[in-house]
Symmetry: C2
Subunit: 202 residues, 2 copies
Amino acid sequence: MKKGYHHGNLRQALVDAALELIAAQGPNGFTLSEAAKTADVTPAAVYRHFAGREDLIAEVARQGFDIFAALMEFAYSNGQPSPLAAFEATGRAYLAFARKYPGHYMAMFESGLNLAAHPQVGEVAMRAKAVQDRAAAGLAAQLPEGRRPPAAMFSAHVWAMSHGVVELFMRGQNRSPFPPEDLLETGIGIYLRGLGLLSPDK
Amino acid sequence: MKKGYHHGNLRQALVDAALELIAAQGPNGFTLSEAAKTADVTPAAVYRHFAGREDLIAEVARQGFDIFAALMEFAYSNGQPSPLAAFEATGRAYLAFARKYPGHYMAMFESGLNLAAHPQVGEVAMRAKAVQDRAAAGLAAQLPEGRRPPAAMFSAHVWAMSHGVVELFMRGQNRSPFPPEDLLETGIGIYLRGLGLLSPDK
DNA sequence: TGTACATCAGTGAACGCGCGTTCACTGATGTAC
DNA sequence: TGTACATCAGTGAACGCGCGTTCACTGATGTAC
């Protein structure tokens, strides 16, 4: 990390501080002042780099969606080696992201950030969502037309279960005898079998 | 509503005020002072009925779990007329509760309330969870033993999808072409088909 | 029924606190000559 | 290379605010005689 002007990379240092605080205390426990203190800087210094508190959270979320989109792209890898394998990989990537980047995840999905008020964030979020949709559509295309659910519905189901597993069993105080990763893997497996995309005896 | 002593039912009036504020501004937007003001009372008056801010939220959550448990009991109705019908009814009840009692739902699942620190709340929460588990177990019992997933896993899957649908598509800013109720109904339907509990051609 | 008294729900003022934000400033860095 | 100057990242003090909580109080209600 190069030390440039006074602090060097204060902007990113503040984002990192916010991430740490959000991960530790939740998206609403974090304060601008505390982030500044964590970065060894006066609260006023924050305003050289961000319009205010909300703008800082938005940047955290934006970086999160960016990483998330890249991870999903990588997992999906254009549907290779098969639509099914690619789809399952995105499911695993979702949970891996939530586990590895808890601060980002909370800023993205639990901070109540208004995406419409931050178009640049919304744009990156859309990019990530597009990967999920593509993965779902690719898999749905394997079904005979008559019994093919709309890809948007398909995608929503899987997203809902993924998000639910994260919120309830990875973040929350709810205990399950099964690790979140296993829960999601088996849950999606059963769901795909219901769609006829997995053989019933697997 | 009887007017008893000075205010009458200030305790419940405060709970109701909190519910209104939580539903409007989220579980962390609510403040003790604002709740007092909404109930036309000085903030200090709150301390005649609650130990503090957290205790008030806990009571909101407790009442929520109470209503929730009753609703689930009613929907389940001891597995009548059939395990499948009863199970599906609990799924619908979950979403109906989230829609009809948003303030309660948020206090219960989004406030970050520490259940361990409020044993009486945890107890009622457990009671609600027990209904879900019973519904899942009853349905799982219909499967041949070899291909029967643990009821706890089964239950977790459905809970995760339900919670995910609420958070993403009922509360959140995410749009789906399908109403949350339809999303959950179809999602659970496909899942049950995957378990072999619904015929594949329904 | 009427009076004196006890209770205790709610008041009003005050507290210390940390918050987000502003502003004039200062002093380290980069640049022109 | 050295000096004078411009830039602008971060400082330090101050602000108004609403928060949760405390405390001595008051006055409406319930009760004993």
